[in-house]
Symmetry: C2
Subunit: 144 residues, 2 copies
Amino acid sequence: MFSKACEYGIRAAVYVALQSLDGRRVSVNEIAEEIDSPIAFTAKILQQLSRSKVIHSVKGPTGGFELDRTEMDTVKLSMIVHAIDGDDIYVGCGLGLKECNANQPCPLHDKFVDIRTDLKNMLENTSLYELATGLEVGLTYLKR
Amino acid sequence: MFSKACEYGIRAAVYVALQSLDGRRVSVNEIAEEIDSPIAFTAKILQQLSRSKVIHSVKGPTGGFELDRTEMDTVKLSMIVHAIDGDDIYVGCGLGLKECNANQPCPLHDKFVDIRTDLKNMLENTSLYELATGLEVGLTYLKR
DNA sequence: AATAAATAGGACAAAAATGTCCTTTATTGG
DNA sequence: CCAATAAAGGACATTTTTGTCCTATTTATT
């Protein structure tokens, strides 16, 4: 469904949001530790997210990654997925056809549109804040 | 969503079904031509489908791939996806966690379950016959 | 029996995704 | 200013996926 990079990216962003709720700025090392992901690879992904304005980064001692309270509401999963995996999930044909659309549909087109619309809606309506608060309350987990 | 191999696999199987409706047995070359896929790679995928009993293969002159009318109804997309991509789509956690489940869910678990259930139902309820007949009538396409 | 047509399958090649290592840059605090 | 800390980024390594090529096997036809 999502690439590994995207999975790590979402988990990392949720962890950053969670810690930002307490005003804590977090390092790549801490993030990778807490979401159980390869450190250097996670660093690359955090760079992407930072460049895409999904999270905010600060260099130097006391630096790290953070999100302000407003951003947690604004940033939806769709933005993370888009930043890392591009728009394949939204745009592409389920059977890989280049010119598949309502006029010239692949055999799976209609059935696929339904499912993808649901997925798209879910991603576009789920904020980091929502996911972070679930974690805060101890209802959900980011590793194992 | 699906791997390239799986996309080719589904398109190939639908084409085989379509031709089998007319009692025609088809070769790898014809299939690859008609679904616009790499020949040798498509051959490998057809082997997999044949070993998984999704389609039937016949060696030698006049040989090729075919499906009988009963199989077209029995074979659902889920069988093809399973044969080629395994059960990742059904089983795996959306965020890549090993032990994600209802007891210890990732932050996306519940939302993901809904979408995946829909996808699963769609794949399990869509037969090759259904897809092939749409093609036969000229409503859908397998290339471009 | 010989030939030719077709799938089966092994070995290899290329490309993409995943992952690591090391250097550079920015920034803080002493 | 200096040393230490943390992200940024370039280069490289590994693994997986995608794709190709060649040979072996099966079988229909003559």
